[in-house]
């Protein structure tokens, strides 16, 4: 794992000192609220419905135990005892006061964390595959590249007042667990003739105008990558629209100018920028990479796992849903679900954070990850330790066996917290999870991703949910539109709208009708919801949702 250099530590300390002064100058009137806003945003401070919100970066989703413990400390000391993990591998605190935030930032700095560029029109926290360094299907570890990008983008003088926010995601595996084609820039690391580099994808994004990113370069060598990224952002900084914030993201720039014109401009700019990188970046990369050396995996029997798996059905159900293949023999990747039925997706109490930190320290090589699906990952656990880990998790309400199932829902904060929201998301997620738990159907239904957003900005990734739910405001009444067939993986696809939306009371029964239709129409238990939808199309689901009413309105 990466530890701060003296430079990093001094940078964060100075930045915190500056922000403390900016807060003071806002209070004494040197800065107007309009002028202060970009500075608070680039330090992770939002003004939400009820209070200020602090969004803390968890770069590429990676945490040490002591860092998770500090997140617990913040929750207890300056918030209401919990935090909310987001789809961008950040954690949000919803109830701090502005005056407390400089103290919170200093506390974070003591464990090498910050909230820099987690909001505002800047290059945001870089996200990555949450199984990085552990996944059996990995080609290259995305974390060293992500850390290099973190350093390059931090306080970049050209890119602190961009047309809009800019998000970068990195993966180095065959499967895409970082939704790279839905980012402003997505990087897929791969080797070409022994040269490590990245496929560069540009112009993806969800929001009100969802777009799937396009490949701008098949292979950019690592050596060229910082200059190439700088060229892309530099071209967009001048070309991106500033007349309409809804058309400012690079996806619109790429759409309006075409990928070929953007590529030509980027190549010209790259030629100008490339000579300014004379090799120091590669020395830095090697120093970073050395810090991500794999932990000392132990070679031990897995009998304890096999015994518990055979004897304990609760452990078996958890192991079947929450474990993934690790590259080291005898090891597994374990996911801790933050989606207990009826709970707020992504929320963790301070006590739960401490428990997860303790497990990571005792059994998990001191590593934790936050997934974009709002769960916590123990990336390196020996299988023989899993029965004990499961017992501890169970004692703290953290052993929900539902990863990838219908109750493992991504939901944005929605109208319960967010100033932009047009509808509630969290209660809908809670009701769906509770309902399918009552029906005892979710293991039978299998792989089914529901993603819920409380407004068209799509923080809940509804476009790429197998079932997507979008909450809107129709004349003061919440109305939920449904999309089917979205896909968040390497075969990224946007869902299709079923038809008219549903009220808050109707939406859970509507989802139940969709799932029932799937169970009735699937060829066998092996055919997933997405596969069935791709084979069957919209019709049987439309019929299940709207019945004869759909036909009547077509006839009329």
């Amino acid at each position: 794992m990466y530890s701060y250099t003296d430079f990093d530590a001094a940078f964060v300390a100075e930045r915190n000192r500056q922000f403390r002064a900016q807060v003071a100058r806002r209070i004494d009137g040197s800065l107007t609220e309009d002028e202060f806003k970009p500075f608070r945003l680039m330090n992770g401070v939002y003004l939400q419905l009820h209070a200020y919100m602090l969004r803390v970066a968890i770069p590429y989703g990676t945490l040490r135990a002591e860092q998770m413990e500090m997140l617990a400390h913040l929750a207890e000391t300056w918030d209401k005892g919990y935090g909310h993990f987001t789809t961008r591998q950040n954690i949000q605190y919803n109830w701090p006061t502005l005056g407390d935030i400089p103290e919170m930032l200093d506390a974070l700095a003591s464990v090498e964390m910050h909230a820099i560029q987690t909001s505002g029109n800047t290059i945001r926290n870089v996200t990555a595959d949450h199984f990085a360094g552990a996944a059996a299907d990995e080609i290259a570890d995305p974390r060293p590249v992500a850390e290099l990008i973190r350093q390059w983008s931090t306080d970049h003088p050209e890119f602190q007042a961009l047309p809009r926010k800019f998000k970068v995601a990195v993966t180095g595996a065959q499967a895409d667990r970082a939704v790279i084609r839905a980012h402003d820039i997505g990087l897929r690391l791969h080797e070409q003739n022994g040269d490590l580099g990245a496929e560069v994808i540009v112009g993806g994004g969800l929001g009100r105008t969802p777009m799937i990113g396009k490949t701008i370069a098949d292979h950019v060598s690592l050596d060229d990558l910082p200059a190439y990224l700088e060229a892309v952002v530099s071209v967009w900084n001048l070309l991106g629209r500033r007349d309409n914030k809804y058309k400012a993201r690079i996806k619109i720039t790429v759409h309006e100018h075409g990928i070929d014109e953007i590529r030509a401009r980027v190549e010209d700019r790259f030629a100008l920028i490339r000579p300014t990188f004379t090799g120091a970046h590669m020395d830095l990369y090697e120093e970073i990479r050395a810090q991500f050396a794999p932990p000392g995996f132990r070679n031990a029997p897995t009998d304890a796992f096999d015994t518990a798996y055979a004897a304990d059905p609760v452990f078996r159900a958890w192991a079947d849903t929450n474990l993934s293949a690790h590259k080291a023999p005898g090891y597994a990747i374990a996911q801790i679900s933050l989606k207990a039925h009826g709970a707020t997706p992504g929320d963790a109490s301070a006590e739960q954070m401490r428990v997860m930190a303790r497990i990571a320290r005792a059994y998990g090589h001191d590593e934790l990850r936050i997934s974009h699906e709002q769960n916590v990952v123990l990336p390196h656990v020996h299988k023989s330790d899993l029965p004990e880990i499961h017992a501890i998790l169970k004692a703290h309400g953290l052993a929900t066996a539902n990863i990838g199932l219908i109750s493992d829902i991504i939901a944005c904060p929605g109208m319960d917290y967010c100033a932009l929201a047009t509808a509630r998301s969290i209660p809908i997620a809670q009701q769906i999870a509770t309902r399918f738990d009552e029906l005892k159907l979710e293991h039978d239904v299998g792989d089914l991703k529901i993603k819920i957003s409380g407004c068209i900005n799509a923080c809940g990734h509804h476009h790429v949910g197998h079932i997507g739910i979008l909450g809107l405001d129709r004349a003061g009444v919440e109305n939920y539109q449904v999309t089917l067939g979205g896909d968040h993986t390497e075969t990224l696809a946007l869902g299709d709208r079923t038809g008219p939306g549903f009220s808050a009371e109707e939406i859970v029964p509507a989802i139940e009708r969709i799932v029932t239709a799937y169970l009735n129409h699937r060829e066998n238990a092996e055919e997933s919801f997405l596969q069935a939808y791709r084979r069957l199309g919209m019709e049987p689901f439309k019929q299940a949702l709207y019945g004869d009413a759909a036909k009547r309105s077509q006839a009329a």
Binding site: E35, P38, P157, E158, S234, L238, T276, A280, D283
Partner: protein, 120 residues
């Protein structure tokens, strides 16, 4: 009267002629030989195009005076200097609200700079 901000604080404007570039200048038209002194407009502190224009001018070999003029905040002084500007021009009202010490506090723009680490 406008005020010129440099690393050592506030100065009165001099009489040198500046070529004015708006923030929406097409980068293809940037010519480093066109003038000895260039002034890039910042219509708003949220409009960061001027930083990239300055950078491109420097990368193309412009060695004359480069000035950022308009709604530039003290907090942005380090960014302006790192992007290639020599100085910033602000009006009286902004200078009154953001007096000299706030600009001098950011005059150490060479410190804590990730870009110089990456570029050696």
């Amino acid at each position: 009267m406008p005020i010129i901000v440099r690393d050592d604080g506030f100065h009165a404007p001099d009489a040198a002629p500046f070529l004015d570039l708006p923030s929406d200048t097409d980068p293809a038209t940037l010519d480093p030989g066109t003038a000895a002194h260039i002034r890039v407009a910042f219509p708003s502190s949220a409009d960061g195009r001027g930083f990239t224009l300055a950078r491109i001018l420097r990368l193309k070999g412009f060695t004359g005076t480069l000035r950022a003029a308009g709604h530039v905040l003290a907090d942005q002084y380090a960014m302006a200097r790192r992007a290639g500007f020599d100085e910033v021009e602000i009006d009286d009202a902004l200078a009154a609200r953001q007096p000299e010490p706030q600009w001098l506090a950011r005059a150490d723009w060479r410190a804590h700079d990730y870009q110089s680490r990456l570029r050696g």
